[in-house]
């Protein structure tokens, strides 16, 4: 789609194709207009190369002051709409000023691109990668074409991955010991653990394990925190007694998790928490929240 600066009818078609477009994996993203499109998937340090095709429409010719393609990595804060912060900006000049009167194709290449942050679409913040083609024109307004792509980065399994084991309670009311087998989980992992009841003096109705995502954007006085409960998984139905041990087996794949993002470019963080919730007969909630690290494991083919 052409973005026009100035209310002129589109004068040309710009198409961006990737060199390995046929073989590269595609993933869906939701555009601003609500539509879902498939775009190619890259990881950091990959080469991003392809072709730009500019085709003038209706026999018109396009006079321009130069054609360039940029690879941008952007962070956009929603409360600061329209304010994009480019943390990565690479440019390739494709053409010197001149005229395009018939379909012209320009190859482009960005080699070993550093894309340290993953694509992220959150509540208050978005991190995206985009190729932007600009045909510069003075008076007529530049013609711009965007092509989104997604970046995902992989982490090998951590060398140290301790379990989380803790005893918590309320004096004379409820003492439990919970255990999660790891502190770092990958996106398709399983949380395995158990809840052991040391003391039960309240009438418990049931117990859930929630996965919560906390997205914090901005800093200092301007910090916004959005917490979302992504999963509510029932662990126990009914009232246990002292000595009962309730197993946990929670598969992460059904849920829309992302890896943990810590202080991305000093702009935002995305953290995940396991929230163990016990509800008693009077609907009082007792909970214990515990942070976990989520990471993306390389996919085995």
């Amino acid at each position: 789609m052409n973005y026009l600066i100035g209310a002129f009818k589109p004068s040309c078609n710009i198409s961006i194709t990737f060199a390995d477009g046929k073989s590269r994996k595609q993933v869906p993203i939701k555009k601003e207009n609500g539509q879902t499109v498939m775009v190619p998937l890259f990881q950091s340090q990959e080469n991003i190369s392809g072709k730009i095709s500019i085709e003038p429409l209706q026999g018109k010719k396009v006079e321009h002051n130069g054609v360039k393609i940029e690879l941008l990595g952007q962070i956009e804060m929603y409360f600061d709409r329209g304010n994009f912060y480019d943390f990565t900006s690479l440019v390739r000049e494709l053409d010197v000023p001149g005229e395009i009167y018939e379909r012209k194709t320009f190859p482009f290449e960005f080699s070993t691109v550093e894309m340290p942050y993953e694509t992220y679409n959150g509540v208050n913040v978005r991190l995206r990668y985009v190729l932007k083609v600009t045909i510069s024109r003075g008076y007529g307004g530049s013609i711009v074409e965007y092509q989104d792509f997604v970046v995902r980065n992989y982490t090998p399994p951590p060398e140290i991955n301790n379990s989380i084991k803790m005893e918590v309670g309320i004096e004379d009311c409820l003492h439990i010991e919970f255990e999660y087998n790891k502190s770092k989980y990958h996106l398709k992992d399983v949380i395995i653990g158990k809840i052991y009841f040391l003391l039960v003096r309240i009438k418990i109705k049931n117990m859930d394990l929630e996965i919560r995502r906390r997205e914090s954007t901005g800093s200092g006085a301007n910090t916004h925190v959005e917490t979302e409960t992504l999963a509510k998984f029932e662990l126990m139905d009914g009232a246990p007694v002292r000595g009962e041990s309730i197993p946990i087996r929670l598969f992460l794949s059904p849920y829309e998790l992302t890896p943990t993002h810590r202080n991305i470019n000093n702009k935002f963080s995305v953290k995940y928490y396991l929230n163990l919730v016990l509800v008693d007969e009077e609907d009082r909630r007792y909970f214990k929240q515990q942070e976990i690290t989520v990471y993306r494991l390389p996919e085995t083919s």
């Binding site: 999963a231 029932e234 126990m236 009962e244 598969f251």
Partner: protein, 564 residues
């Protein structure tokens, strides 16, 4: 209360409606091979079982419908597996369900298909399922879920000779699975006792009673495993089951489960583990009706003994009698408040057992009667009819077994037991004794035995303390005395001297009977005497006139005294 029942009907109807509606959509999904929707609607359907509003009886109705629907789902899963869908993936997929109860029902259903597919050893899947079910801590819901697990796994246990048998010793895994499911189910079942307000205790106990077979079923299945031989039973099954029975400290569970154990496992196992089984009895709650349990056990063992003479040596080998009588003694000692009726019932069962297993051991029989006397002595003369009836039963048993009063007369404690009967029952028993003699045509041939016999039937012979004449019906009195009269024929010896002794003894006793009785009792005595006289007269005059010897003259003397 009526309100509640109506409400429950409403909720049940709503539950069934919800279930049926989701089942409808589930079927549609099954028909169009839509796995995703099948899982979605089956989970929704199963959510009806999350209700807390139904009593166990009504919950069962809902459960049965869900059960039927899950069979169709299981068939679908089987088809899917055949068509190449990964059963392991399916096993994971159903675990994505957010609510635990539907999740676990689905897991058990897939688990069943998983085991059948043999892609994993049966023991691993069973272990996982019985573990994961711990998430349901609500008693009724948990009991039904585990019952479901039990039902779908029933034919897939890695028993010896089954197609699911893995490497050696997998029957151990089958046993472990069943024991774990049993233990958890019993815990849930016991927990029901303490839920809810104190005033609803009776209702709760009724509900518990409705659910007991769900728990007991596990023991049935255990009992039917080929691999549970005597060793396995002795080393593993019985100790583990008893551990749970004792530790649960619940009267209802203990009574039911002890009875279950006795009924479900073979009698020879009970014989060989008698010590262990009996050892658990004193550890049970004092309020448990242990006498009924022990009586059941003894009844079974009695029948076992009666079934074949070949098993009798086993009884001796394990010293069954002494173990049982010790156990009973211990129980009676421990339960100070046990009513007499209970104690007598116990001894009655023991007596029956003894008569079946050791009929030749009169000393054992007498021992049992003696123990009974000891207990009765602490109570004094009995008033309640239940107890007296039970004593009559106790005393009748040897009569029926031996069909010979002479044998019974050898039991020194027999008359002592009779002491504790009230006068009326005493007479009843005396009649029973006489009837037994008449039926078996037992001849009582010595004066000594006659004395012993008359001691037993003294209630008929004379007025006992506290007897009131107008208590007795004329008809009854006539019957009684006629019985006594008929008895005389059976008191007979070929030896004239002995016969004279007999007649003297009888005469002595009859004379204490009082004017009402004599018209009945004396005539037969006279006839007996005359018979003797005739007999003597028919003999040679070679009979030497010894002092003690019978002579017609002596007899006539006696008779004269009697008639006047």
């Amino acid at each position: 209360m009526v309100e509640r029942a109506e409400d429950e009907e409403k909720w049940l109807a709503a539950g069934i409606a919800g279930l049926q509606q989701n089942a409808f959509y589930m079927h549609r999904a099954l028909d169009s091979n839509n796995l995703r929707d099948a899982l979605k609607y089956s989970a929704q359907m199963l959510s009806e079982l999350r209700t807390s509003r139904l009593s166990p009886h009504k919950y069962y109705e809902l459960y049965m419908r869900a059960f039927d629907e899950l069979r169709k789902l299981e068939m679908f899963f089987k088809e899917e597996a055949r068509r190449g869908c990964s059963i392991i993936d399916l096993y994971e997929l159903v675990q994505h369900a957010g609510n635990i109860l539907p999740r676990l029902y689905l897991l058990c259903t897939v688990g069943s298909v998983y085991i059948k597919s043999k892609e994993a050893p049966a023991k691993d899947v069973l272990k996982d399922l019985v573990e994961m079910c711990r998430g349901i801590q609500h008693p009724v819901r948990g009991l039904f879920l585990r019952s479901y697990l039990s039902q779908v796994s029933r034919d897939k246990l890695p028993d010896i000779g089954s197609e699911y048998e893995g490497d050696a010793d997998t029957v151990v895994d089958a046993v472990e699975f069943l024991l774990q499911n049993f233990t958890e189910m019993n815990k849930l079942w016991v927990r029901m006792q303490h839920q809810g307000p104190a005033r609803e205790k009776e209702k709760r106990e009724k509900e518990r009673s409705e659910l007991r077979d769900l728990v007991g079923k596990n023991l049935h299945v255990l009992g039917q495993l080929e691999g549970v031989d005597l060793d396995m039973y002795k080393e593993t099954v019985l100790p583990r089951v008893l551990e749970q029975v004792v530790n649960c400290k619940d009267e209802i569970a203990q009574f039911y489960l002890m009875d279950c154990i006795i009924q479900v496992f073979p009698d020879e196992y009970h014989l060989q583990t008698l010590e262990t089984l009996l050892g658990a009895c004193p550890q049970l709650q004092p309020s448990v009706d242990i006498k009924t349990v022990l009586s059941q056990l003894m009844e079974r063992l009695s029948n076992y003994a009666a079934s074949s003479a070949e098993v009798l040596p086993e009884f001796l080998q394990v010293e069954a009698f002494s173990k049982l009588s010790n156990a009973i003694w211990k129980v009676i000692e421990a339960q100070v408040d046990m009513p007499i009726f209970g104690a007598v019932t116990l001894y009655s069962s023991l007596l029956t057992f003894t008569l079946h297993v050791h009929p030749d051991r009169l000393d054992y029989v007498d021992q049992v009667l003696g123990a009974c006397v000891t207990k009765l002595s602490s109570a004094g003369k009995l008033e309640d009819s239940k107890s007296t009836k039970q004593i009559v039963a106790l005393l009748s048993a040897p009569l029926e077994k031996y069909n010979d009063i002479v044998t019974v007369l050898k039991l020194s404690n027999y008359p002592r037991v009779m002491e504790y009967l009230d006068n009326r029952t005493n007479k009843v028993m005396a009649i029973v004794i006489i009837q037994s003699i008449m039926k078996n045509k037992t001849c009582i041939a010595t004066a000594e035995k006659v004395e012993a016999l008359f001691e037993l039937i003294k209630g008929l012979i004379k007025d006992l303390d506290g007897d009131l004449h107008d208590e007795l019906d004329d008809e009854d009195f006539k019957e009684e005395q006629n019985s006594v009269a008929r008895l005389i024929q059976m008191l007979y010896s070929d030896d004239p001297d002995e016969m004279l002794q007999i007649i003297c003894a009888v005469r002595k006793h009859f004379l204490t009977g009082g004017p009402q009785r004599l018209p009945y009792t004396i005539p037969p005595l006279v006839f007996s005497s005359l018979k003797l006289i005739r007999k003597l007269q028919g003999q040679d005059e070679n009979v030497v006139g010894e002092e003690a010897s019978a002579s017609p003259k002596k007899i006539f003397q006696l008779l004269n005294q009697v008639i006047y």
